[in-house]
């Protein structure tokens, strides 16, 4: 033993000394590295001249030899393998060597490296150095040896080589040992490791699958919902019996219960034998091993243990209730989750009737069975009210007003919300989709009344439900989660939940990437015009974005100018042309009939209901079904404001008194105007007012109280161009000819600050006169209407002054001005003043005007009456009964315009006028007067009136005839027909025509205004039921069309 030991020692010493060089050389040799060989050769040549032939032999042979010797060596090693110390020492040495040369050897071991020139070269330097060092060290020896003879040198050489070989073998041996050790470590050490960590990265999973040798799994029935308890008690029992003789034979027990699990009601137990299970479960509660036990197929075992991600319920999360039935579908908020994870404490808004129906519910029927609770319409959601509860059922109410916690019967309430423990299976946890509206109800119940919705948690619960978010191509989206966070792009393609983006910003510009919708949100910018599309209650609202914070977007709605906040996922870019909100046939600002006496203007359109501002200024929410009908928009509707000026839709008016609101007329309905203002956003800016309490601010298109907004029929009518004299397009004012006679006249001023002063007219315009005052050397400008012409000598008033119109009945000087201003159309539409001017009687002297078909003239008061009033009313079913009232009310209103009653029209005005003019019509005065009278009173015979006019006018012949035959019918029919159509015809100007139509119209209003008359005659001849209504009917549409 000592021998090898010595040898080893010696060698180890040697190794210590010469470690680098021999190792290198042996390496070189072992690898048969030609270059290394050459190196060796080189320095051997240097040192040993006439190098040995042995050295020249091919490396391969060398190698072979090595191997041969290797074997021997191995054997030797095995022999002294018992020497553990040696081995250890060697190993240590080897380790050292490793440390020094580790990387090199690694490389060298690969024979192929020989062919890599570069590597070899790089390493050559090191090697060379090493070799040189070794050489330097070795030098002494070799030189000394060299001193001997060649044979000795050859012997030395071979000796050296043998030693090298020995070393090499030794080292390789050590290597082998090391490898072996490593493999042991790998085998066993690893096993230890695996046991500890359960590391499965190396052992393939399929090898872990259960086999027939493993215990089987049985499914045992148990009580539903008690699965976990059973498992707990099994665990307990295992612990109890551990180490006793009746130790349980089962190896595992688990359950896959849960509210929505299909494995519920079963406990799974792993054991080798079924009898073990029976023993283990013997006498255990809630589990039924005696019933059929299911053996789980080996293949299915892994599935049984597959982990499904269960939705986690956390306090604050939103859920929906399934039970109790009364609350099915209601939103609830999780407050707490019980330990076993089966029950959840939720709070929700109660649906209480405070025991109203309790009697029927708790009462027992005769046969002793409990009556089924009647599921009537469930009470609405409403926060718990102590007052109500106390009122209805004080006995079962207990609680603390301070904390606002009450128990009412079996229910418990906190802060108005009902709080209840509910099984998870009775809750809908997924796809809850709470709407903002619902959630708001939960928050608004806060004591401070301040809405503090935690939109973030809401957003989270919304996000969980991946549904509803829809992306469409061209949506601008932003990635807010994941690796691509912050990337903004335009969606180009959407497939299931993968959106393909064309990146538009940042470094990735132009690239196309796919992103799951989960991490996406839509992106908007301030000022974008967007539409709400999602499930929020603001659906279909349009608006402009005013604020963006995270994924919450605040927008200003188009319709109501209010701000709403929604999630960006519920928005999408709206087209520029905003469709107004509409619901069915009803859209914003429509005028609708709510009931026979009420109309309203739609001021808000919700998803299912409308908000209507009615004529009384009240808003009410109505369903479309509650609306009787939609009133068509009448663009040419017209009314008179408080000053008697005409107002039409789109005119700007201001309330007189009241709130003084100013707005643009949207609708005119009878005596109500609906106006729109930008001043307020309330009711979409709509307000309602009475016609008589508004005054015109500006008329549309600068129309001064006149011109129609429709096509200018007047100027379009070539007929009117033919006979300019008769036309009133621009009736040539008389004063146009020659010098105004007023100039130079002495006048007094009737109105204003200069009232009463005397002066002389220096100059005139159409409307104004410049008056030089006598009292003061001053020339002032005064409206001609305010002047009174006096005789310069006597000072007497000259009434029929020439420059004035052949005056109104009372010489109203308002004439000239009105004369100038209104054109033909306006005349017809401002009956107030012109009506008198257009009566046929009136017409004669002032041919031009009278020629203008009294029908139109009358149209102002008479003609207009049925037309406007009845026209609009016939549409309304309830109006039939109202006709008399409607037109009755309107007629005087119109004709009186300037407070002139019909009596005044015919009785006082006409005769007065006729009288003053002294023309042939004067003779008619009594008739006129009486005509009016019966008309008004309706007590006189119908025939009388036509008779009166008929006697004076041949043209009237048909009228009485008509009236005799069918008084109301032709009258009514004739009235508008010639009136309306004769008007422009050149024939119209003839007094006869004028009178005829005038008469016609006159008869029209008569029945309308005083329905009794035609009614009487009508029924007298024909028994026509309501000629008034009929008469009203007929012209109605005609005029409506006209409108």
């Amino acid at each position: 033993m000592s021998d090898p030991r010595d040898y080893n020692d010696a060698e180890s010493e040697e190794e210590d000394d010469f470690n680098p060089a021999p190792a290198d050389m042996s390496d070189d040799d072992a690898k048969g590295d030609p270059e290394a060989d050459e190196d060796d050769d080189d320095h051997h040549r240097q040192t040993t001249k006439g190098s040995s032939p042995a050295h020249k032999r091919p490396a391969a042979a060398d190698h072979d030899e090595d191997e041969d010797e290797d074997d021997e060596d191995d054997a030797a090693n095995n022999g002294d393998g018992g020497g553990d110390d040696d081995e250890d020492e060697d190993e240590e040495e080897e380790d050292e060597e490793d440390e020094i040369q580790g990387h090199r050897r690694k490389r060298r071991r690969d024979k192929r490296n020989a062919f890599f020139d570069i590597e070899a070269e790089v390493d050559d330097e090191d090697e060379a150095e090493d070799d040189e060092e070794a050489e330097a060290e070795n030098e002494g020896f070799i030189e000394q040896e060299e001193l001997g003879d060649f044979g000795d040198a050859g012997r030395l050489e071979s000796d050296r080589r043998h030693r090298e070989l020995d070393l090499q073998r030794d080292r390789m041996n050590h290597e082998d040992l090391q490898k072996e050790a490593e493999s042991f470590v790998r085998k066993y050490g690893h096993r230890r490791h695996a046991r500890g960590m359960g590391d499965t990265t190396i052992v393939p999973q399929r090898l872990l699958l259960p086999s027939v040798d493993d215990p089987s799994i049985w499914g045992v029935r148990c009580k539903e919902g008690k699965e976990r308890e059973v498992v707990y008690s099994i665990t307990k029992r295992i612990h109890e019996r551990m180490g006793t003789k009746d130790e349980l034979g089962i190896t595992a027990a688990f359950e896959r219960g849960g509210p929505n699990s299909i494995y519920k009601g079963i406990v799974y137990i792993e054991a080798y034998r079924q009898t073990d299970i029976l023993q283990a479960l013997d006498g255990m509660l809630n589990v039924y091993p005696r019933s059929k036990i299911i053996l789980v197929d080996i293949k299915e075992m892994p599935d049984l243990l597959r982990v499904q991600k269960t939705p986690t319920l956390e306090p604050g999360a939103w859920v929906r209730l399934k039970r109790p039935m009364k609350y099915a579908g209601d939103l609830a908020q999780v407050q707490d989750i019980t330990e076993n994870g089966l029950d959840v404490k939720v709070r929700f808004i109660p649906r209480l009737d405070y025991g109203v129906r309790d009697d029927t519910i708790s009462g027992n029927t005769a046969d002793g069975k409990r009556k089924r609770p009647i599921m009537g319409p469930r009470p609405p959601q409403k926060l718990f009210s102590e007052v109500e509860a106390r009122k209805r059922n004080p006995r079962i109410l207990t609680g603390n007003p301070q904390t606002n916690a009450w128990s009412f019967g079996n229910d418990y309430f906190e802060g108005g919300f009902q709080v209840k423990d509910i099984k998870i299976q009775h809750l809908t946890v997924k796809d809850v989709n709470p709407s903002l509206e619902e959630v708001t109800r939960f928050t608004s119940g806060g004591e401070d009344g301040v809405e503090n919705i935690d939109l973030k948690s809401l957003a989270a619960s919304l996000k969980d439900s991946n549904a509803t978010t829809t992306y469409l191509p061209n949506d601008v989206v932003e990635v807010y989660e994941g690796e691509q966070k912050g990337v903004v792009g335009k969606a180009t393609q959407v497939q299931a939940d993968i959106v393909t983006l064309q990146v538009t910003e940042g470094e990735l510009v132009g690239q196309t990437i796919d992103v799951p919708t989960k991490g996406l949100r839509k992106r908007f910018q301030l000022g974008d015009h967007v539409k709400v599309i999602g499930g929020s209650r603001y659906r279909d609202e349009l608006g402009m974005v005013v604020k963006i914070s995270e994924d919450r977007v605040t927008l200003l709605t188009d319709q109501t100018n209010t701000e709403i906040t929604v999630f960006s996922k519920d928005l999408r870019e709206a087209s520029d042309i905003a469709g107004q909100g509409s619901l069915g046939q009803y859209s914003l600002l429509d005028l609708v009939q709510l009931d026979p006496t009420t109309v309203g203007c739609i001021v808000k359109v919700d998803r299912e209901s409308l908000v209507v501002l009615d004529q009384n200024g009240d808003t009410r929410q109505v369903m479309p079904s509650q609306i009787a009908n939609k009133l068509p928009k009448r663009k040419l509707a017209v009314a008179a404001d408080r000053t008697g000026s005409e107002i039409r839709p789109d005119d700007v008016v201001k309330e007189y008194g009241g709130m003084g609101r100013q707005g643009k007329i949207v609708h005119i309905h009878r005596s109500y105007v609906f106006c729109h203002t930008h001043q307020t956003t309330e009711n979409a800016g709509i307000f309602v007012s009475r016609v008589s309490s508004v005054s015109t601010i500006s008329a549309k298109g600068g129309r001064i109280n006149a011109a129609s907004s429709g096509p200018d029929l007047d100027s379009m009518n070539p007929a009117k161009k033919l006979n300019p004299t008769g036309r009133n397009d621009m009736p040539p004012p008389r004063q146009v000819f020659g010098r105004d006679k007023l100039i130079g006249q002495t006048v007094t001023i009737r109105k204003g600050g200069w009232k009463g002063l005397l002066g002389r007219v220096k100059d005139t315009t159409d409307t104004h006169a410049r008056v030089e005052l006598h009292t003061k050397s001053k020339v002032i400008s005064v409206p001609k209407t305010d002047l009174m012409v006096r005789d310069s000598v006597s000072g007497r008033e000259i009434k029929n002054y020439e420059s004035r119109r052949p005056g109104g009945p009372n010489g109203t000087p308002a004439r000239p001005q009105e004369r100038a201003a209104p054109d033909w159309n306006s005349g017809s539409r401002t009956p107030v003043v012109t009506s008198s001017a257009r009566t046929p009687a009136w017409k004669t002297p002032s041919g031009g005007i009278g020629g203008r078909t009294p029908a139109w003239g009358r149209g102002g008061d008479g003609g207009r009456t049925p037309a406007w009033a009845d026209g609009s009313r016939t549409v309304n079913p309830y109006d039939g009964s109202r006709t008399a009232y409607g037109s009755g009310g309107r007629t005087p209103a119109w004709s009186s315009g300037g407070s002139k009653t019909p009596a005044h029209d015919y009785g006082s005005k006409t005769p007065a006028y006729g009288g003053s003019n002294g023309d042939s019509w004067g003779s008619k005065t009594p008739y006129g007067a009486s005509a009016a009278t019966p008309g008004a009173s309706g007590s006189d015979s119908w025939g009388y009136t036509p008779g009166a006019s008929g006697s004076s006018n041949a043209y009237d012949a048909p009228t009485p005839g008509a009236s005799m035959l069918g008084a109301p019918t032709p009258g009514a029919l004739n009235a508008p027909t010639p009136g309306a159509y004769n008007a422009p015809t050149p024939g119209a100007p003839t007094p006869g025509g004028g009178w005829q139509s005038g008469w016609g119209t006159e008869s029209a209003p008569t029945p309308a205004a005083a329905a009794p008359t035609p009614a009487a005659s009508g029924s007298g001849y024909y028994g026509a039921p309501t000629p008034g209504a009929y008469a009203a009917d007929t012209p109605g549409p005609r005029y409506t069309d006209d409108d």
Partner: protein
């Protein structure tokens, strides 16, 4: 921004107007029809002149003559991001409305600097920071337009004063 813009329009004329001064009538009608209107994205402020009045074509059926008129008009188009001076016309707690010529602009509270707060108790109600800025009806403000919307016959914008040099502008020319 104001532009001088060449436009074209078809004007119809009633036969009764056919005569020697037809072109004047056409021009007159054009002025009446077009000036001061809003066509989608801009307002036609004023018509400078008409440079090309085509020959009239009688429309079958109606007898009206149709002229195609080319004209040059000053138009005003509000742009996103444009800064305009405006006069406040109404103030409420959600913000205020201002008018820049024909354009109505709404400035929401979100787009008003934080320190300018709604004061409902003032008469008239106003937005104020209790220092140098008070925004009430009639105040001149400088607004940056954030978005515009076209409605039938009018434009409508929202604006912001939440930036430097925007907002209360006491000395507008």
């Amino acid at each position: 921004m104001f532009f001088l813009y060449n436009l074209e329009r078809r004007v119809t004329l009633h036969p009764s107007y056919f005569g020697k001064n037809m072109h004047e009538l056409v021009t007159g009608k054009l002025l009446k029809d077009v000036e001061g209107t809003c066509t989608g994205s801009y307002y036609i402020i004023s018509i400078m002149d008409t440079f090309d009045i085509s020959e009239g074509r009688i429309l079958p059926g109606s007898g009206l003559a149709e002229f195609t008129v080319g004209y040059r008009a000053v138009v005003w188009r509000p742009f996103k991001g444009e800064t305009v001076d405006a006069v406040v016309v109404s103030v409420n707690q959600h913000g205020f409305f201002a008018e820049a010529g024909p354009l109505r602009i709404f400035v929401s509270t979100h787009l008003i600097p934080q320190d300018i707060k709604w004061d409902p108790n003032a008469t008239p109600p106003q937005f104020t920071n209790n220092e140098d800025t008070t925004i009430e009806v009639g105040t001149h403000v400088r607004i940056k337009i954030l978005g515009t919307r076209a409605e039938v016959g009018e434009l409508w914008a929202i604006g912001s004063i939440k930036e430097d040099y925007l907002g209360y502008a006491p000395f507008l020319p």
